[in-house]
């Protein structure tokens, strides 16, 4: 899976699982500040990503996720390795 395919599926998860507005989702969008995802929402996002992509995201790596782009990079990196 290339990065753009990861991005596409991840954005779909954001819309279907977290109920985010597709129009507001950009790679630069910050989950908490721009997309109004609360702290539990970030946890739900991680769970959804783990289910969707079959990866494990440890807490210490999850802390680095601020924006949609960073989430894509994290998942993409996991799938690569």
């Amino acid at each position: 899976m290339d990065r753009s395919a990861v991005a596409e599926r991840l954005e779909e998860v954001l819309v279907t699982e977290l109920g985010l507005d597709a129009d507001k989702i950009t790679e630069e969008a910050n989950f908490e500040e721009d997309l109004e995802v609360d702290s539990l929402g970030v946890v739900e996002l991680l769970m959804a990503l783990e289910d969707e992509f079959g990866v494990q995201i440890p807490d210490e790596e999850a802390e680095n996720i601020g924006t949609v782009g960073q989430a894509i990079d994290l998942v993409y990196g996991k799938l690569e390795s």
């Binding site: 609360d38 539990l40 739900e44 769970m47």
Partner: protein, 244 residues
């Protein structure tokens, strides 16, 4: 609407009555037990005879691996758990001066650690379905304290703090967490008390008798229902007016 419920410590006492009450409400019920396999099977049979659906699942609920296995069994056989009743509990009564650390640890493990383990185990599924009811069984001992029950009261007070915190964490997702605090209820657990202690306790109630397990189960059943959606983070005493 039929949901899937798990009642820990469901083979006897309040847990047994709760399993039967939830099944009576149309829910599919997993009856957890630690050692009472026969008693749990009897509860399952009673529910089945009444036209309900139930399974018995053995697990030490203070053991995370055993709980994981139990949750998988319930999910496979009944479906994702949407109602969790953390009821499993033990006593190891004694005055603090005579209470061993083992007695403290054992009670905390079965009564409080289990609540943490089981709640965490069901949370993911509940968050996904955006519906869930968690009812934790505490005790008036956990609210007021009780001589001879420093360990038990600590565990039951812990259940209250735990429940209120989790209620705050997940309230926005359609999940509720509430606590039922029974007073003196006729079960095997209170059967261990001396007649003197029981009659003294009864004299403190307004109703003038010990409670029945079914009377506690009725409150748990309500808190697990659709109708209780606007109630969360609360402690409900079912104690015959013991508190007044």
């Amino acid at each position: 609407m039929s949901r899937v419920a798990l009642v820990t410590g469901g083979s006897r006492g309040i847990g047994r009555a709760t399993a039967i009450a939830l099944a009576d409400d149309g829910h599919k019920v997993a009856v957890n037990y630690a050692r009472g396999a026969d008693a749990a099977a009897a509860v399952v049979a009673e529910i089945g005879d009444a036209g309900g659906e139930a399974i018995a699942v053995g697990a030490d609920v203070s053991d995370p691996d055993a709980v994981d296995t139990m949750m998988e069994t319930v999910s496979t056989e009944l479906g994702p758990i949407e109602i969790l009743v953390n009821n499993a509990g033990i006593t190891r009564d004694g005055l603090l001066m005579r209470m061993s650390l083992d007695d403290f640890d054992a009670v905390l493990a079965t009564n409080l650690r289990s609540t943490f383990i089981c709640t965490k185990a069901v949370l993911r599924g509940m968050l996904r379905s955006k519906w869930g009811r968690i009812v934790n069984v505490s005790s008036v001992s956990g609210i007021a304290g009780n001589p001879g029950q420093a360990n038990y009261a600590a565990s039951k007070a812990g259940v209250i703090g735990f429940s209120k915190s989790v209620a705050k964490e997940i309230g926005s997702r359609g999940l509720t967490v509430n606590v039922v605090a029974p007073g003196f209820v006729a079960t095997d657990m209170t059967g261990e008390l001396s007649d003197d202690v029981l009659s003294a306790a009864v004299s403190q109630t307004l109703v003038g008798r010990v409670g029945r397990a079914e009377e506690v189960a009725a409150m748990i059943k309500f808190l697990a229902s659709e109708e209780a959606a606007y109630i969360t983070g609360q402690v409900f005493r079912v104690d015959g007016g013991l508190s007044l």
